[in-house]
Amino acid sequence: MVTLPTSGESQQWVGQPLQRREDARFLRGTGRYTDDVPHAFALHAAFVRSPIAFGVIRSIDVRPALEIPGVIAVLTSADLGHATLTGFLDRDEFIKTAMPILANERVRFVGEPLAIVIATSRYIAEDAIEAVSYEIDEFDPIVAMDDAQRTPQPIHDEAPDGVLVDLRMFNDDELEEVLATSHVVVDETFRSGRLQAAPMEGRGCLAEWIDRDDQLVVTVSTQLPHQVRTGIAQALGLAERQVRVIVPDVGGGFGFKAVLGREEVAVAAAARILRRPVRWAEDRLESLTASFQGREQEYTVRAGFTEDGVLTGLAADIRCNIGAYSAFPFTCGLEPIMAATEFLGVYKVPRYASRSRGIASNKPPSNAYRGVSRPQIVMVMEGLMDRAADRLGIDRVEIRRRNTIRAEDFPYSGPNGITYEPGSYLEALELCAAQVEAAGWRQRCEEAAPGFIRGIGIANFSERNAYGTATMGLRRMPMTPGFEVAHLAMDASGDVTLTSGTCSAGQGHETTFAQIVADRLGIAPDRIQLRQGDTDLTSFGWGTFAGRSLVIGGGAAAVAARRLAVQLREVAAQLLSVDADDVELVNGHARVRGTGASISIDEIAKTVHFRSHLLTDREEYLLESHGSADPSGMFSNGCHAALVEIDAGTCAVQVLDYLVVEDCGVIVNPLVVDGQVRGGIAQGIGATLYEEASYSPDGQPLAGSFMSYLVPTAAEMPPISIHHLETPCYQTETGVKGMGEAGTIGAPAVILSALNDALRSRDAWLEHVPVTPADIQRLLALPTKMESS
């Protein structure tokens, strides 16, 4: 027992800009990713992939490949028992279709796997790919969404018109009347291009059947360890217990890994069939053209405004090109549902109706990509605001101000059936607008060199995140995500192991979760180790996506930590012969309020483990707790502004400067939050100015490498200044809101707004992303309003 000062604040870890614990290994190259996991005997897989976008498989001849020395097996759909994955929603508006693990009867996109080759090296496996021959009768492919109407051959027989999901979730009988009598109706069509998340680490896995444990152990790069387990178990006819999924470091997920791919299932199946370990690492060509894509959407909208610029109603027809299959487990309903439900953003829209469809095409299946539909809906809403402002002669900030949900409106219930908890929507807009003025951007616009044009954009938006079971249940997936359970155990040294069913894809959970737990246990965060990504080690959970990890996983950890703190205080009370209510946990000690008597937490841990006979009043042994969290979901919000410059000579666009106001509730670690914002904006700039997974009219991918799929580099990034507001959300004990997607959500809208500002002298608007130099050239070639009048 030692005596501590009787008062003195405990170190508060939440809110500290702690360097990420993960950084040292990531930056030194000592992280361990799936393909780094050594295995002396692993065979290598490669996939024979269809060069044809759409057709019927007449034959596949694998025999020549089997003659190549080092080739162990070449498996086709029949060898896998025609296994499938089926991602579906249990609702009438959804047509259930299966995705075969290996193509069976039909091929539906270029890159679809026809067979899996297993060989002693990837080199030999790729030699074998060239030796496999096949006959495919081609159909005319469906590439653009409108192609579906003119092609007699449907992609899935179950959906003759190509529409796999057709949602009319929001209807309003009076909307047409309201629009008809509105002062102006802005009637526009917005489009966004197909994207690929392009994480540094592609997909990959290593599968091995272990007789001793009667288990298939699959090491895999994923955001969803338990859902990968379920999918593999279902596809291979195994019990959940018979599949163990281990997730090492993940080099970026962005939703691209919030899915189970057919390749991982095929590799697992091969390992089980051959009873030999098999590994596969996706190469960049496969990643860009044969994995998952997203964001190819079209919005036809009509928005009514009063003379004062107040929204009267909005009608939206939303179409999403969901590719050839419905992904497991989030389904091809993901983009249509989120677009329709969250369309209205931070604005008060009295009347709203939408139709939202997912249309099949001969392209890789779509899945979540950071922001899911929100980058588009914000682009559309902000585009409507800019158009209305222009037509009504109202300032762009002022028209937003007139429509934004205000502090006195909370809790606000919109026509989308969502109740909004407090946010700082108007405050963020005002702060952002003030920062634009303070930064002198207007002056900088006027100072553009001859041959250059500058413009300013602004976008005010929200980011719904941390969807719990109550919200997810409305989607009607056969399994409803949302809750998390955390376990804490303090060992005899006083170190704490935390397990969580969330699973970092590089966001820094090891650091931020430890900060939350540290505050509640009165110990330093470096005493807390987060273990994640192992279905045999953690409780069932739902992985990482949609800003859920720190809110729900961290919220569960907070509950577990609070409960463990109670245990520590009770043991301390026994050892110090005081009342537990008088014990507080401060700076590594249990301290008695007022007296200064204390005992170190390390000593408590040692006593509990090694001298438990001293603790006669304790019913339980050890120091273990668990906690859970299941919030319904919440909205972070933010406002972005961008200053862009167009080079009229080359039609190049450069983002010169960027301002962010972000409100994600309580900030656990400002470094991590700012990093998330910056990384998201980089991806948003990519989506707006550079990236597109383009296809030829016959369905051939045109962007198969980073020479053609242009991910922005540091050279394309503007300086970004970030300002914070904090409106806590107490759906969990931490007050935290999710914030991983805000950057990608705001950037397309704000850059488009800025480009339209720069081009305001032309009587034309950009209403799509990505904006290419050719688009700028077309607009610059138009007469200016002055010339034409």
């Binding site: 080199y123 790729e126 000579g649 383009s694 962007a703 490498s705 242009l710 580099t713 130099p773």
Partner: protein
Amino acid sequence: MKPASFEYVAPATVPEALHLLADDTVDSKVLAGGQSLIPLMNLRLAAPERLIDINNLRDLAYIRDDINGLHIGAMTRHTDVLASTSVRQMTPLLHEAAGFVAHSQVRNRGTLGGTLAHADAAAEIPVALLASNAVITARSIEGERQISVEDFFQGYFSTTLRADELIVDVFLPAMPPHGGSAFNEFSRRRGDYAIGGAAVVLVFDDQGICESARVALLAAGPQPVRAPASEGLLVGHRLDGELILAAAKAAASSANPVTSIHGSAEYRRAVIEEMVARGLREATQRAGV
């Protein structure tokens, strides 16, 4: 993305390399920096039977001043070209062009001889050498010959270099007094191959009249090309804004860029025009007239 199997040899001397190249029973490819060849092999767009790795031939890595210009060894890395004071002072165009070559990782490996032999019409160095009126020395077991850069490029990714020849040296004439040069290119993302670009070398007399003009275009056709129509407008004249625009237009109309996902032929032609115009302005200014 793994290459087909191949034989690998790494000769220690130039004569050894030349003997290997002389063996016409094997489909051989020379490996210099490997920044184009290795990706092509990984994508199985190239599958040579034998790779002759010349990275041990250190005596081909040099930058040597001459009274009339610079000799640069074929194995000189772009990074060393970029860092060289001699290059910057005597052949500023090559210095400027090297700065546009991809990123530092690529420049650390890529070589002058390698990019020349690869002859990509969108690559910077071949166009800079064309504008510089460089002379290429190729060697085989038969002996050595000099090839004017004018006669070197021969269509899409091909050159007049024989299969048994190795580029050993490139000579660049020094920029004369009253000369000015400029290298401009545009790519959507910094470090990428150009959508369009131009290398310009202008020499003026002491009255400020253009004595000679070399305008070479990037990504303007199957191979690095000059724009004689543009050059013809410039020689014998003082360069004013109007003439520069006319010369840029002439260069663009002689260009044959292809439509790609980075831009239509029409857009790429407009970019070339702009790059030529900027280059002519800069080169004129740098010449001090």
